[in-house]
């Protein structure tokens, strides 16, 4: 239920519920509704599902997938890692 693809906002128009963006997916552009990401602006990457942006991609967090592997190397394995700050206990 889940095909959402990251794309870059190239232009924005409209307001509130009708706020739309042209989003670039590697060279093809699609009209995307931004009603659910009111803070999204030109240059942001958004996750798009069925023509709606559902989330803004956090670039800092995005790099962590690779950092995780490096940390595992340094600490000698997953078992020793403390849970990610994003975790609820």
């Amino acid at each position: 239920m889940c095909l959402a693809v990251p794309g870059k906002i190239i232009s924005v128009e409209g307001e509130d519920l009708a706020r739309q963006a042209r989003v670039d997916f590697g060279g093809v552009l699609k009209e995307v509704n931004l009603a659910y990401v009111p803070d999204a602006k030109i240059g942001d990457y958004v996750l798009v599902h069925v023509g709606f942006a559902i989330s803004i991609v956090d670039e800092e967090e995005a790099a962590k997938v690779f950092g995780y592997l490096r940390e595992m190397d340094e600490l000698g394995g997953l078992a020793k890692l403390t849970p990610d700050p994003g975790v609820k206990q």
């Binding site: 239920m1 959402a4 519920l17 659910y36 991609v57 975790v87």
Partner: protein
């Protein structure tokens, strides 16, 4: 493509695979409950990278698989009407109903159209005032905000010739149903990342605690899934059962508040039947009374449908991870990809379809080898 291809890096994938193998000391059964994750696992052959002790079960994570038979039949009924333009996501076209499917209706001349977004259905409604436009609103929480917006805008703009056939399901109740079953074998979950992008992951905390299962919110690229599995196995090996977020780049803790708000405005929680599993209380979304005018079931009076699943189809047991496709008596015989009996054989990532392809290929190879 940025935020896509980096997560398909071979070196990193092998790195994660190595790490998972290193920390796995016992057999574990982990379920992923999202068709998109199943698709990625099959497409990239991720289970090939995992140690034999780890069993990945594909749960009821796809609208194709869980939309009740009656609803497909209702869709087929409505789509046959000459005044209707029936719009749907591509996924639903080949799902078998009791006697037919949407693809067959299209082949026979029904106006069935594949759309990318429900808002496109509104456009079609405006362009075709003499027709009735019906959108097959199927999905999990990820797609609910889009459907909510379409219905909301239809009401706002007074688009009378538009209605939706709703089959929305919620993930947490399904997880509880699976975990609460006596024959449950699932010990850990990968939660669907995009569902959580909308809903957040607070709802999973009591589930993790009650059933003592780790739940890791996971993305869809190979590295996401491998990292999610690694985090889940680490918890299992350490005896922890917490909710963790692997997909932090897309899932904020609270999810998408604006989208949640909108869902609540247009939809309400209802009981829903899950194909192959049965009715799960408070597991679906239905239109609120103030939007009932846009409910296609009422508008087309297809409310009273009963349908019988093929007695041969055990898709429910398969989706709950209790049986494997080849343990089904109809597998490969009465039920094939060309003539499926149940939904998991239709969807390319359905457990049965995936098995069918690979098994057939293996048999072909074995058959040819034995001829030498």
């Amino acid at each position: 493509m940025k935020f896509s291809s980096e997560y398909r890096d071979a070196g990193a994938a092998q790195g994660y695979a190595h790490e998972i193998r290193r920390i796995t000391t016992r057999p574990w059964t982990i379920m992923e409950i999202c068709g998109g994750q199943t698709h990625a696992i099959v497409k990239f052959g991720l289970d090939e990278l995992l140690p034999k002790e780890l069993e990945l079960v594909h749960g009821p994570g796809c609208p194709v698989c869980v939309t009740p038979l009656e609803l497909i039949d209702k869709a087929v009924q409505i789509a046959q009407r000459p005044e209707v333009i029936f719009c749907s996501f591509g996924d639903m076209l080949r799902v078998p109903g009791s006697e037919s499917d949407l693809f067959a209706i299209k082949a026979r001349g029904g106006d069935v159209r594949i759309l990318y977004s429900p808002l496109d259905a509104l456009k079609i409604a405006k362009e075709n005032p003499a027709k009735q436009i019906v959108f097959f609103a199927v999905g999990f929480e990820t797609t609910a905000p889009a459907h909510a917006m379409a219905v909301y805008q239809a009401k706002q703009q007074g688009i009378q010739n538009f209605s939706v056939l709703v089959s929305h399901v919620l993930v947490p109740p399904a997880m509880e149903a699976i975990l609460g079953s006596e024959t449950n074998r699932v010990q850990g979950f990968l939660a669907a990342g995009h569902v959580c992008a909308i809903m957040g992951y607070e709802e999973y905390i009591p589930i993790a605690a009650r059933y003592k299962v780790p739940i890791v919110v996971t993305g869809f690229e190979p590295l996401d899934i491998l990292q999610g599995i690694a985090m889940c196995v680490a918890q299992l090996e350490q005896g922890r059962h917490e909710v963790e977020n692997q997909y932090t780049r897309a899932v904020p803790e609270g999810g998408n508040r604006a989208a949640q708000q909108f869902i609540k405005e247009v939809f309400q929680v209802v009981n829903r039947k899950w194909r192959g599993i049965g009715e799960i209380g408070a597991s679906g979304l239905g239109l609120r009374p103030e939007f009932a005018g846009f409910d296609a079931e009422l508008r087309f009076d297809v409310g009273d449908y009963r349908a019988e699943e093929s007695p041969l189809c055990i898709s429910g047991l398969i989706m709950q991870g209790q049986k494997k496709p080849h343990e089904c008596s109809a597998f490969g015989k009465q039920c094939t990809q060309e003539k499926p009996l149940g939904a998991p054989m239709v969807s390319n990532e359905g457990a049965c379809a995936a098995y069918y392809r690979y098994r057939r290929a293996e048999l072909a190879a074995a058959g040819k080898a034995s001829q030498r």
